[in-house]
């Protein structure tokens, strides 16, 4: 078994892996710290993340590692106690509203109104993004087509299967063509076909230049999809780089899943 020291490069080295200069940089987070009131340890402890255009950045970690806190801070939902976040060149902590037009969020929950149809949901979210008229209707059609829901667009979301809900959830995040898309476990608990469709569409989006931050528990998904991954545990990034590079660096590990378990341990995290 490789030791943690073998696989977890020193912080500086990690940062080198994650930082690739400012050119083409979509997101840069420096020294993020978040301590929840009453929490024994920081939920996030001096995290640095840099993401470039067209990258799919995988955020991996066991339950309670700090993934959701990281995504919440980067997507302007939560303010860090310390540190800076720059998105598309704008300080996201100081000017969250200015950043929000560039980002899209696909939350882990099905963040849609279940008593509205998929089209009504997209119409509402589109208008909130400031879209309207024919342009919005066209964009709604494109998004529904992308996730294979055109035929069911006028059906209440409540009547959808789990897979259809996930796909509609993704469509709502893509509506305004965001430059940076946050995906928090977008394929959890769905059928193989829906999962396959979502992954295919994400690859298509990546090819079209959309940058993504992708949080998942499925290591094979991350290995297949992500250009860069960061493994986070105890609020700190304990490993980072391309999946292939990380596997290569860890002797005895043939997959990202094996590497993940060797880094975070096999004990349950409930």
């Amino acid at each position: 078994m490789p030791s943690l020291a073998d696989m977890n490069p020193p912080a500086n080295s990690q940062n080198e892996d994650l930082r690739k200069g400012k050119a083409g940089q979509v997101l840069a987070a420096d020294g993020l710290v978040k301590i929840y009131r009453g929490g024994e340890h920081p939920a996030l402890d001096r995290c640095d993340i840099t993401i470039h255009t067209g990258e799919i950045f995988g955020l991996l970690g066991p339950n309670g590692a700090g993934k959701t806190t990281t995504i919440s801070i980067l997507s302007t939902l939560l303010r860090p106690d310390e540190g800076r976040v720059t998105i598309c060149g704008i300080d996201a902590v100081k000017h969250p509203n200015r950043v929000r037009r560039f980002i899209g969020l696909v939350p882990q929950e099905i963040a849609l109104y279940s008593s509205l149809t998929a089209r009504e949901n997209l119409l509402f979210f589109g208008r909130v993004y400031g879209l309207g008229g024919r342009r919005l209707r066209k964009r709604i059609h494109e998004c529904l087509e992308m996730v294979g829901l055109v035929d069911k667009a006028d059906q209440l979301v409540a009547t959808y299967s789990g897979g259809m809900k996930r796909r509609a959830n993704l469509a709502a995040g893509l509506l305004h063509n965001p430059q940076l898309l946050f995906l928090d476990e977008p394929t959890v608990g769905i059928d193989a076909q829906s999962r396959n469709l979502i992954l295919e569409k994400l690859i298509r989006l990546k090819e079209a230049g959309t940058t993504m931050i992708y949080s998942t528990h499925y290591m094979e998904e991350a290995e297949q999809l992500c250009t860069t991954v960061a493994i986070i545990d105890g609020g700190r990034i304990i490993a980072g780089g391309s999946p292939q590079e990380l596997i290569r660096r860890a002797p005895g590990c043939s997959s990202l899943g094996e590497l993940f378990l060797s880094l975070t341990g096999k004990q349950l995290r409930d």
């Binding site: 929950e109 963040a111 109104y113 009504e120 509402f124 979210f125 993004y129 400031g130």
Partner: protein, 445 residues
């Protein structure tokens, strides 16, 4: 503006699809207004505004029993029932009918009542004029006039019937006494003249003595006129409809907190709030859209209740709701009350962790606020302590303002204190919700 419009449209669409919410918002207050108005109309009848059905058994069968019956009928406050089936009822029938709960009261005029009263009156008259008469020198026992009542009848109704009966008895008694005095007093005067003047008294004096006709059967000299303290003269006395329609409409308006808080909690739990908070829209727009949508719904709800008061209730036998002429003041009160209700809905939706918490606490708190606010029982009928507490209920502020317009003939100036209170309540709930919401966001939702 487009974003605000989108939020309002979304909220209205969500409410439209929420059948249970619509039931709470429209059907419940409509049913409450109809039921309570009809029930209270009946209570007013029992309290004496119109006839309460009372069994009447006249075992005396002579003049006084008949007099009492006639006077009770004339007074119009009691409807006297002498037959349940074809035959006239006796005392035992009356007791059984009351025990069965078929009637609440029974008046029994005892046998020999007229004779006993008349003998006793004469005894009193002779005694007070210091006259002697062998036929009336012993005190005559008067049999009791009995009123049977159902033990379940409340004290107020009992005293209403007793008051009606007592006033009739008093008039009858006074009349009887005067009749006897009219008869005896000239005899006494004649006796005194004879005793003083002896043979000087000519027979002619007897003829010149005035004949006394003391009778109070005619109209009373003093009358009590009912008059309200309305600022404007109302053609009709305020009815139960004038009081119940605004009261229960207000209750319905405040019930908006249940679907509203539910919608907020659902948004928080299903992630739509998180999605909205990462979108380029201000929190103020989101919350203003929600408030505006629910205010529109409350206005529709209030309009429906008014229509019920104007058109439906009269068909069911109640008086028609009269809106008065202060429509601007009325709109201002409704808007202030709906804002206060939506503010409370947002407060509840922000503080409650689950829909179950909100759906339990919301209605209970509204019912308590309604009870102390005078929606169910008028504030003047409450104990002193509760009257002091009632000023803290926003429903009381709203109701007082409505009654100002509907019943007291008030205007924009007179409703101003209540309107300000409602708007301050709205502002306070919004500020508290805002502070708590952002403190929760800082803690990570």
């Amino acid at each position: 503006m487009k974003k605000l419009g989108a939020t309002i449209h979304k909220e209205l669409l969500l409410l439209w699809r929420d059948k249970a919410g619509l039931l709470v918002l429209f059907v419940m207050p409509a049913v409450l207004v109809v039921v309570i108005s009809l029930v209270q109309e009946n209570i007013l009848k029992i309290m004496g505004e119109t006839g309460t059905r009372v069994l009447f058994v006249d075992l005396d069968g002579q003049t006084l029993g008949k007099n009492i019956e006639d006077k009770l009928r004339e007074a119009g406050r009691l409807e006297l029932i002498k037959k349940i089936t074809a035959a006239e009822i006796d005392e035992q029938d009356a007791i059984e009918a009351i025990n069965r709960g078929d009637f609440q009261f029974g008046i029994i005029i005892p046998e020999g009542f007229t004779d006993a009263i008349r003998r006793r009156t004469r005894q009193l008259a002779y005694k007070s004029l210091s006259m002697e008469n062998a036929a009336f020198d012993k005190n005559t026992a008067i049999p009791d006039l009995i009123v049977y009542f159902d033990p379940a009848v409340r004290g107020t109704f009992r005293s209403a019937v007793m008051n009606a009966l007592n006033s009739v008895i008093l008039v009858t008694e006074v009349n009887e006494k005067l009749k006897v005095f009219s008869e005896i007093l000239p005899q006494k005067i004649q006796k005194e003249i004879d005793a003083t003047l002896g043979s000087f008294a000519s027979e002619g004096i007897n003829d010149t003595l005035p004949e006394l006709k003391l009778d109070i059967d005619g109209k009373p000299l003093m009358q009590v006129k009912e008059s309200s303290t309305s600022r404007k003269a109302f053609q009709k006395t305020p009815t139960s409809v004038q009081q119940n329609v605004p009261a229960w409409a207000l209750f319905g308006i405040f019930f908006i907190v249940v679907p509203m808080a539910g919608a907020l909690i659902k948004e928080r739990h299903d992630g739509t709030l998180a999605r909205l908070l990462t979108m380029p829209v201000s929190h103020l727009t989101l919350i203003a859209g929600k408030v505006a949508a629910y205010v529109l719904v409350c206005l529709a709800q209030f309009f429906l209740i008014l229509l019920i008061g104007i058109f439906l209730l009269p068909l069911l036998g109640t008086p028609q709701l009269e809106l008065g002429s202060e429509s601007t003041a009325l709109i201002i009160i409704v808007l202030s009350a709906t804002l206060a209700a939506t503010g409370y809905g947002i407060l509840l939706g922000t503080f409650a962790k689950t829909y179950e918490q909100a759906s339990m606490f919301g209605p209970i708190s509204i019912v308590i606020a309604a009870a102390i606010g005078g929606i169910m029982v008028p504030i003047y009928a409450m104990p002193k302590m509760m009257q002091k507490i009632s000023i803290f209920s926003p429903l009381q502020w709203g109701l007082d303002a409505f009654l100002d317009i509907f019943v007291r003939g008030g205007n924009l100036v007179t409703i101003l204190p209540e309107v300000i209170s409602l708007l301050l309540f709205f502002t306070a709930t919004m500020i508290i919700s805002w502070v708590f919401f952002f403190s929760r966001i800082r803690k990570g939702m």
